[in-house]
């Protein structure tokens, strides 16, 4: 039939259908009088139209089942194995029960069907095999054997688990809440074991968790597992977009294609728990379009388990899992447990499966949970988390290198959350702040700082409407001020915090207890603005006022003391800081052995002792902190890694490089497990570790690590980001140490270019890059170029830092040596001497730079014929010889 005729047939067909059935034939006979064939054709079609039963009317599922289902494996016998029957099948492969004839034992054999179809599938199967080979845990099915059939079908032989899926088991046994939770914990432990081997399961769901008749749990199907460290094909797969998962259990990051981590498994475990508690899934994704399904998972908050369980109780299908019964208080905890595991923001989930297990244990033994529901401050500040406070900048400015910055999350925030949550106004304020973010526009979801700033501005506007409620208005202003402070906008922060303080004083009176937190907040800001005197005055005022209203162990008083300690440390008053921090720690310890506030105070004290040169004390504090972080956050949490880095930095400082290296490696291991290889934090630790290797003259290893760090940073931040420049600085030093001045020069030049592009030519970081570049010229005896560069650098440092800055001094010392090499002794003496005076006023007497410049001065004075001065510096040299 051709197209024209088909058109005619169709139009007759539709026209006939428009007639009542009894009149159709008459209509057609009249219409097709000229063409009896077409009449027949249309009548046949009408006939078919009335029938059902062709393949088109059957579901595709049934058809796929019938056509794809090969009833038998490719071979019944291979090697010592005899296939007994089909156990199950999934997308990847089909699993058979088999018997090992020589031993008489039963095993499960998984075969990759149609292996020839796709290399990607073969690779994934191989990855599964390697993964299983690595794991050895009573709750993970073991790998026995693997191979390929003669027809090319790959297979793996595993432990045979005779059991049923977790939820089916619980349904059949009408398991109680504690029974379900214990099974769940066993599954968690298996997942945790995999995580310790840097393996993420990625497809956790009840049908992959079997329970045997004896009640032991087995985690199955590592078919889509991902190895965190290895660059295997599964990583490749993730990049190109194939993200294996089961949507109902898929975490938001699996939908968006964001990095997958151990937290992805925590999410899936949360969904499994949800199902165990309520008998239903958090999201019903059947018959959803992809867009709807994505939005459900990414945006909609699931019903709380307590609510879902109530609903399940009434409309549950027979034979399915019944919701657990629990009293309202238990439900409140279960809601928090479940929703923390399933949090859409990976950072807000349990950081490790261990932490999840611990909270389940706490629940079972009636102890309070570690997890806390989201506070309004969290909701408001969740996009600011990246702004962390740099502390423990342990690297000293040697050779004017860029300081090593160790980031430390502000743990105080969590403590304040709890305090505010207790406040009576919390609910109102919550509504207020949430309305800021919702604000009528459904697409508003602050995803970047700019957007957040806009929202904050709106918040400031709206806060002014709260004239009748000064207490609440002050609190809102203060919160907004603190957020601006975290964002680094000190001017906005200042006006808001000052307004909050003024408002409280004016409406409540200068002696009111609520003035105390305002004073502390403003004091903390002043510290960040480097206005230390004012900071100290404000915080001391807060303490004086606070003593009239609060007991000394009140959280606000402890916060004031910790803030004062921090201010004093910044002022260089290490003894004063130590005293007040020790008081705060003593008081806080009475509240509990491990609180975030205590961790914060210990951390500041450790840094204080470190700066004071009291490394022993810093170490013991850091060790205590480490134990506490492990208790609070679990073994493999980034906070634990931070503590390890602080410990390592202290070892590094004392020249114990291999000890430092070991600690840095432990930190790296945690961060790799947590963030994966492609994270900026991983790059930071690689850089720190690289420095520890440089110190041990292990340049090849250092070079390798630093190049990895460089690649990550280039990927994460872009080629021209200042973070890339700091790694270039390290690489340049390695190149220099190996005598490759060409490469060293190239690195410094690129570093300088990056800083110029980012900050403009008049920035001290540009000066640091150029100062280092000058050192390369000095090494090559290219004194003319070195001199020009250093003169520029000295001017730049004086302009951007100050004439008395350590960096200025170092540049002048270098310039002095260059001038000496060129025989310009008079000028050389001026520069060296000026540098000497600055350094002597600041650094400790054993400084390498002092030794360096004293030697130069001896030489200069001898050349200039000024023997007394030469003798003076020679004597100093001898006196300070190491």
């Amino acid at each position: 039939m051709d197209a024209v005729r088909w058109e005619r047939v169709q139009s007759l067909f539709h026209a006939a259908l428009d007639h009542p059935e009894t009149e159709r034939r008459a209509f057609l006979e009249a219409a097709c009088a000229d063409d009896p064939d077409i009449l027949l054709e249309v009548l046949e079609l009408l006939d078919e139209d009335a029938r059902v039963g062709s393949v088109l009317d059957r579901g595709l599922a049934t058809i796929a089942h019938e056509v794809l289902e090969l009833p038998e494996p490719a071979m019944r016998m291979f090697g010592p194995y005899r296939i007994l029957r089909l156990l199950g099948e999934g997308g990847m492969g089909v699993v058979y029960l088999a018997e090992r004839e020589d031993l008489g034992t039963r095993v499960a054999v998984k075969m990759l069907r149609d292996a020839a179809l796709s290399p990607a599938r073969r690779e994934r199967f191989a990855v599964e095999q390697r993964t299983l080979a690595q794991l050895n845990h009573p709750s993970i099915a073991r790998l026995y054997d693997a191979g390929t059939l003669p027809d090319g079908t790959p297979y793996i032989v595993m432990e045979y688990v005779e059991g049923e899926p977790l939820n089916a088991y619980c349904a059949r046994h009408s398991a109680t809440l504690p029974e379900r939770l214990r099974l769940f914990m066993a599954a968690c432990e298996a997942v945790q074991h995999a995580h310790r081997h840097a393996i993420i399961h990625r497809d956790i769901k009840p049908s992959n968790i079997l329970v045997t008749e004896g009640g032991s749990v087995k985690l199955l199907d590592f078919g889509v597992a991902k190895h965190l460290e290895r660059q295997d094909a599964s990583a490749d797969m993730t990049r190109t977009g194939l993200r294996p998962m089961t949507p109902a259990y898929a975490a938001p990051e699996q939908i968006t294609g964001d990095p997958i981590g151990t937290y992805t498994d925590v999410y899936a475990l949360g969904v499994v728990l949800y199902e165990l508690l309520t008998g239903r899934l958090p999201y019903d994704l059947s018959d959803r379009t992809p867009g709807q399904a994505e939005r459900e998972i990414l945006e909609r908050e699931p019903e709380r388990p307590s609510v879902a369980a109530r609903r399940s109780g009434s409309d549950r299908a027979s034979g399915s899992l019944a919701p657990v019964s629990a009293d309202p208080r238990a439900w409140a905890d279960l809601d928090v447990l479940c929703m923390t595991a399933m949090h859409k923001d990976p950072q807000r989930r349990y950081r490790t499966v261990d932490a999840l297990i611990r909270d389940v244990e706490r629940f079972l033994t009636n102890r309070p949970l570690e997890a806390r529901p989201d506070s309004w401050r969290y909701r408001m500040g969740k996009f600011l988390r990246r702004h962390q406070r740099p502390v423990a900048a342990a690297a000293v400015v040697l050779c004017a290198m860029i300081g090593l910055v160790v980031f430390y999350t502000v743990r105080l925030a969590a403590a304040r959350d709890a305090a505010v949550a207790e406040a009576a106004r919390a609910r109102r304020i919550q509504q207020f702040t949430l309305s800021l973010f919702e604000g009528g526009d459904p697409t508003v979801g602050p995803s970047d700082t700019t957007r957040v700033l806009t929202l904050l501005e709106r918040g400031v506007q709206e806060a002014h409407v709260l004239e009748n409620e000064p207490a609440m208005k002050a609190e809102v202003l203060e919160t907004l001020g603190e957020i601006f402070q975290k964002l680094g906008d000190f001017a906005r922060a200042e006006s808001l915090l000052v307004a909050a303080l003024d408002l409280r004083r004016e409406r409540l009176g200068a002696d009111h207890p609520d003035v105390v937190p305002s004073l502390i907040a403003l004091g903390a800001l002043r510290q960040e603005q480097a206005r230390y005197e004012e900071a100290e005055r404000l915080v001391r005022e807060a303490l004086v006022l606070g003593r009239r209203h609060y007991l000394s162990e009140h959280p606000i008083m402890i916060e004031a003391m910790v803030t004062l300690g921090s201010v004093l440390q910044a002022r260089g008053d290490f003894d004063g800081a130590t005293a007040v921090l020790q008081d705060a720690i003593r008081l806080e310890s009475a509240r509990g052995p491990a609180t975030p506030e205590l961790a914060s105070a210990l951390n500041i004290l450790a840094i204080t002792r470190h700066y004071a040169g009291d490394y022993e004390a810093a170490d013991s504090l850091n060790l205590r902190l480490l134990a506490m972080s492990r208790e609070l956050y679990g073994e493999r949490h980034p906070n634990v890694a931070d503590d390890l880095i602080n410990l390592g930095a202290s070892q590094f400082e004392r020249g114990r490089y291999s000890e430092a290296e070991e600690l840095f490696r432990q930190a790296l291991d945690i961060i790799l497990g947590f963030h994966g290889p492609d994270h900026h934090k991983t790059a930071s630790i690689l850089t720190i570790l690289g420095r520890a290797l440089v110190a041990q003259a292990r340049y090849d290893e250092a070079d390798d690590l630093l190049r990895r760090a460089l690649a990550v940073r280039e990927r994460v931040f872009g080629q021209d980001h200042p973070h890339v420049a700091s790694t270039l600085n390290e690489l340049a030093q390695v190149a220099g140490a190996r005598g490759d001045t060409e490469l060293e020069e190239a690195y410094y030049r690129r570093m300088s270019d990056i800083y110029e592009a980012a900050h403009g030519t008049r920035h001290y970081l540009v000066g640091i890059a150029k100062s280092n570049l000058a050192t390369v010229f000095m090494k090559r005896d290219q004194y003319e170029q070195a001199e020009a560069l250093l003169r520029e650098v000295v001017g730049l440092f004086i302009e951007t830092l100050s004439a008395d800055h350590m960096n200025t001094a170092i540049a002048r010392v270098k310039l002095g040596r260059v001038l000496a090499r060129r025989g310009q002794w008079a000028e050389a003496e001026v520069e060296s001497r000026a540098g000497y005076e600055i350094i002597k006023a600041q650094a400790d007497p054993s400084s390498n730079w002092l030794r360096f410049v004293r030697g130069d001065l001896v030489e200069a004075y001898e050349a200039l014929g000024r023997p007394e001065e030469a003798a003076r510096f020679r004597a100093e040299l001898v006196a300070t010889a190491p």
């Binding site: 062709s54 599922a61 990607a120 599938r121 977009g241 994505e294």
Partner: protein, 171 residues
């Protein structure tokens, strides 16, 4: 689409079909049972390798529908070959197998009939492929083919009748 992407697309489609097929025998409530959900899941797995926007989503579904048709027809061919004297030792004569053999033949006939329909009316053939193999709904099919929903409904009714007639003749 580049080759690795196509390979992944094909793998995903194939595996989803396998899961779909398996769901019939297992009646696992966690498994989804209709082709709409199936294509959706395959889509979710592949979404970020595709340009964003609803057009690309439909484009993907169209390709997925084609891939499913290919996978199923391939399987039907193999099954037919088996029936005609492949590895006889493994063929047990139970009813289910006979049904399966018939289904395989039906699929091969449908494949051929669709090719014929494509010669008479390419849009209708594409429509059947998308709806039957890809699980696209009326609205999506209409958007993809840039016609009204009522046109899709009319076309579907005519094409369905015609294909059913072709299948009956073949069988």
């Amino acid at each position: 689409m580049d080759k690795p992407t196509l390979d992944h697309l094909f793998s995903a489609t194939y595996e989803e079909l396998r899961r779909l097929a398996a769901s019939v025998s297992h009646r696992d409530p966690n498994r989804t049972l209709n082709p709409t959900a199936l294509v959706n899941e395959a889509y979710l797995k592949l979404a970020d390798s595709l340009p964003s926007g609803s057009t690309s989503r439909l484009h993907f579904k169209r390709i997925a529908a084609r891939a499913m048709r290919q996978v199923l027809v391939e399987a039907a061919r193999r099954r037919n070959a088996l029936k005609r004297g492949g590895d006889v030792a493994f063929v047990t004569l139970d009813d289910e197998l006979d049904v399966a053999a018939n289904t395989a033949q039906d699929l091969l006939d449908l494949d051929r009939a669709l090719d014929d329909l494509a010669k008479m009316h390419p849009r209708q053939a594409l429509m059947v492929e998308c709806r039957f193999f890809g699980g696209l709904d009326i609205a999506e099919t209409a958007e993809l083919l840039e016609v009204s929903e009522s046109t899709i409904l009319r076309d579907w009714r005519a094409a369905r009748a015609w294909l059913a007639r072709q299948l009956r003749r073949a069988g």
